[in-house]
């Protein structure tokens, strides 16, 4: 997806501030999501898969689901704790 490509043959039009900010926010959100997923993978593997077997057991799968939910919840708790502390 190349938003910088020009539709015309002349000099490429500059992106508006809105376009640039829009792209920036999308990039930031994607980077943040990837980092978040990487963290959750690490934490939940650590918590739920103590002895890797030849396939994921039912309890390992449900542990992983709960772990993802709890980690997301923990992120919310931490976020609120930080902003309630600023009085």
């Amino acid at each position: 997806m190349d938003s910088f490509s020009s539709p015309s043959a002349g000099s490429s039009p500059k992106l508006s501030t809105d376009d640039l900010m829009g792209q920036l926010k999308v990039q930031l959100a994607q980077a943040y999501a990837e980092e978040f997923l990487e963290t959750v993978r690490g934490k939940c593997f650590e918590k739920c898969i103590t002895k890797p077997g030849s396939s994921l057991s039912g309890s390992e799968s449900s542990c992983i689901s709960r772990c993802v939910d709890r980690y997301i919840e923990a992120t919310g708790i931490i976020g609120r704790a930080l902003f309630n502390a600023q009085r």
Binding site: R70, T75, I77, A81, L82, A85
Partner: protein
């Protein structure tokens, strides 16, 4: 256009938001390790959730002490 004050301010705002998100993400990994000691359940116990809150706030308290001490050494 990229040098306009408006654009610079928008960039500054996004940088600040990114820094806040990074702080939250980092604190969550640290406090998860400290507070969620067993297997994750279908909800947090009250001691787990207060641990998480306390962890974040004590970390910020500590940050302030460290900064002040460091400044005293300058």
């Amino acid at each position: 256009m990229e040098n306009s004050p408006e654009f610079q301010q928008l960039i500054t705002q996004e940088r600040e938001k990114a820094m806040v998100n990074e702080m939250i993400a980092k604190l969550t990994t640290v406090c998860w390790d400290k507070c969620i000691t067993g297997t994750p359940g279908s909800k947090f116990s009250s001691s787990e959730s207060s641990c998480l809150t306390n962890c974040a706030q004590r970390y910020m308290d500590m940050s302030l002490i460290i900064m002040k001490r460091f400044q005293n050494m300058q």
